[in-house]
Symmetry: C2
Subunit: 231 residues, 2 copies
DNA sequence: CGCTAAGGATTGTTGAACAACTCGACAAGA
DNA sequence: TCTTGTCGAGTTGTTCAACAATCCTTAGCG
């Protein structure tokens, strides 16, 4: 687990790097990490003065970082009330899966033209997930699974779609944390990823598209079942 | 003596105060409009002090607006050098059309489940384009055409995809301005929009998808031909 | 001709100040 | 009791001035 003091130290160190980016972006990276790791739970208010003091940066700089994360939908900005870690509604989850179906299915439909490098990264993600599953490390399975789907999207060969997918997966992390039992959520899909990979390697774009469609339908249902009661 | 108009006006005024957004967002709206309309040409540097003075706002607030537009890819941020109106490369244009093919084709594929309200807005955009074309108002044709494609995307029933499309079309405006002859670019598609609409109304999702695919291919080619020489 | 150093311009970041707004607590009145 | 008005503490919104960091140009030098 991250703790604030470690973070301050690493931040101070990072700032001495030569290729450094703006402080606002560094802070955004830091906060993003905390949010998708679940350190700051959805609904938590992030107080400007408090965080600015802790990170030893000015409020103005912090506000720039907030803007960035707001645009990524990880933070919610309520005017004159503050910024809060985004709370996703069931409708948000449904929408995210709508987008996934559009972007990911379009990707696998182009299996036939898949570049070797892309195939390799997909394969690697599948293998990583299997390895992690064998070791009962379900958090790692989740990470590998994200990489798998991110790799699928690169079949589209579109930098913009890649970025959209990155943001989408980060947003989904806000939901994953409500899963009490990550194993039950991730386990079924380890084998499915392998099967989907086989279809892609065979150049069966149409079949892969159909397979992925029901794959995503089921994932969405599982997530919504676990999510609705609490929300 | 009070009269009814005074009351209405004061209420309207109060409403604008209540609904008003932050200064940064207002400024972002203003700058976005200028960029989209081509007032500030691609490549133009936007000086912080100069614009902040002109708009009578602080540099900090202006920088927040810059961030917003940077995230929409209308501005390019070069660290320690300033912000510039984005200059799209041919590769950018190709990528934008890749995204369009994914998002728009997925939309029309669902023609069969099209809600009446969506069909109506698509129809309206087609009619507007035809009307504007008849009056030789090619700028209006372009606007109607944008609305047409934006309406197509709503077939996906996804707010996130709607927003992506809005940003995408705004970004494309950066390119449209290089077209010396807007008529030659827009004219061929007025009739095509009508034909595509017919396929959608008939629920021919598959056919509509194929039709739109080649439609977009051709539009991309036309744009790239006009763009490459200058770029 | 190429390299370096200095200077000017612009952005990056800070800290403080004040205005605007939210929200809860409490009092006054129906 | 319920509603309404008022107050005050706390937070965000915005501005301002200052200085540091960086880039670009140009002048001087070998």
């Amino acid at each position: 687990m991250l703790n604030v003091d470690d973070v301050v130290i690493s931040l101070a160190h990072a700032r001495t790097r030569i290729g450094r980016v703006s402080v606002a972006e560094e802070v955004a990276d830091l906060l993003r990490e905390r949010i998708i790791e679940g350190v700051d739970e959805p609904g938590t208010q992030l107080l400007e003065t408090e965080i600015a003091d802790q990170l030893a940066i000015s409020r103005n700089t912090l506000r720039e970082a907030f803007r960035l994360l707001g645009h990524e939908r990880l933070l919610e900005h309520r005017r004159n009330r503050g910024v809060f870690v985004r709370v996703l509604s069931a409708e948000d989850v449904a929408d995210l899966y709508r987008v996934r179906r559009v972007i990911e299915v379009a990707a696998v439909r182009r299996s036939k033209e898949a570049p070797p490098a892309v195939l390799a990264s997909i394969k690697e993600a599948v293998a990583d997930a299997e390895r992690a599953a064998a070791q009962d490390d379900w958090k790692a399975v989740g990470t590998a699974n994200s990489r798998f789907h991110q790799a699928l999207v690169t079949l589209n060969q579109s930098p913009r779609l890649d970025e959209s997918m990155r943001h989408l997966l980060a947003e989904l992390r806000l939901v994953f944390h409500v899963m009490k039992n990550p194993r039950s959520f991730h386990e079924p899909f380890v084998a499915r990823n392998r099967e989907l990979l086989a279809l892609i390697e065979a150049g069966e774009g149409q079949a892969a598209a159909g397979y992925l469609e029901s794959y995503l339908d089921e994932a969405e249902q599982m997530l919504l079942r676990a999510y609705e009661p609490t929300g």
